[in-house]
């Protein structure tokens, strides 16, 4: 009995572990994971603050020194002046040169797309402005 077993073992590949089956399985696993795996995007977070409901009424009277960016479904304005994205970037760079901690008020219209808000926030992040306040308008 014992001798027969040893004979069967040694009949394969001179007493060593038979790798062929294992390699088959490993390749199957490798291919399975390569196919099912989805590459993970690098994520980023954009911090904003939101005025509390009580201070919202006060801020509606708009302190003169604040920068107001408005986002509409069809464009952007800075202090009521319509601007394109590249023009806004230029302005923000200049503003950031003066003071990085000044509050930027971003007023977002209800029907505008979230993408546009993220675009503006990204520009602010690029220029280094950190005090961002998002206000929703109708």
């Amino acid at each position: 009995m014992k001798r027969r077993k040893r004979q069967r073992d040694t009949s394969g590949e001179s007493g060593e572990l038979n790798m062929t089956a294992m390699i088959d399985v490993v390749f199957q696993l490798l291919i399975f994971f390569l196919v099912t795996q989805k590459p993970i995007d690098t994520m980023a977070n954009l911090d904003v603050s939101r005025p509390s409901p009580e201070s919202r009424q006060e801020q509606m009277q708009t302190p003169p020194k604040m920068i107001r960016i408005q986002i509409f479904p069809d464009g952007f304005t800075i202090n009521d002046r319509p601007v394109g994205l590249s023009e806004m970037e230029g302005l923000l760079v200049r503003l950031a040169g003066i003071d990085r901690n000044q509050t930027i008020m971003i007023m977002c219209a209800a029907m505008s797309r979230h993408e546009d808000l993220v675009r503006v926030l990204d520009l602010c992040a690029k220029t280094g402005l950190v005090n961002l306040s998002v206000i929703s308008t109708n």
Partner: protein
């Protein structure tokens, strides 16, 4: 040798499958907007609450859809449990209208969370 390889494979498969499960909680159909200049996410706070808004404007946490009022209840409970320093991350689809995002932000503000983060893609993989 053979039993050891068997066990090691079992372990590898176990960890790969369970690591996958942790990602199931997020909605893959949400297409985040791009923000190439924002600061990348390095460490995640374990208390972090991720609120998702899909392109239909529906609000969900961990694939559970809810109304804005219910979200307020959830956020109030979160604040009661962990304080006002809980990080809130809003994962909103790029095509969502702002009003849906506003509802989420209003619910957070009412619950006492003034700081929120928007999730965006810094760099697309592949």
């Amino acid at each position: 040798m053979t039993p050891m390889i068997d066990v090691v494979f079992q372990l590898i498969i176990f960890f790969v499958v369970t690591a996958d499960m942790q990602q199931k909680a997020i909605d893959e159909s949400i297409k985040l907007a791009m923000a190439p200049h924002a600061k990348p996410v390095e460490v995640r706070d374990p208390r972090e609450v991720v609120i998702e808004v899909d392109n239909q404007g529906r609000i969900s946490i961990a694939r559970t859809y809810m109304t804005a009022d219910f979200l307020y209840t959830v956020m109030r409970k979160t604040v009661a449990d962990h304080g006002q320093s809980v990080p809130v991350v809003i994962r909103a689809d790029g095509g969502t209208r702002h009003e849906a995002v506003r509802q989420v932000m209003d619910a957070c503000t009412r619950a006492g969370l003034w700081k929120v983060k928007f999730s965006a893609v810094k760099e697309k993989a592949g």
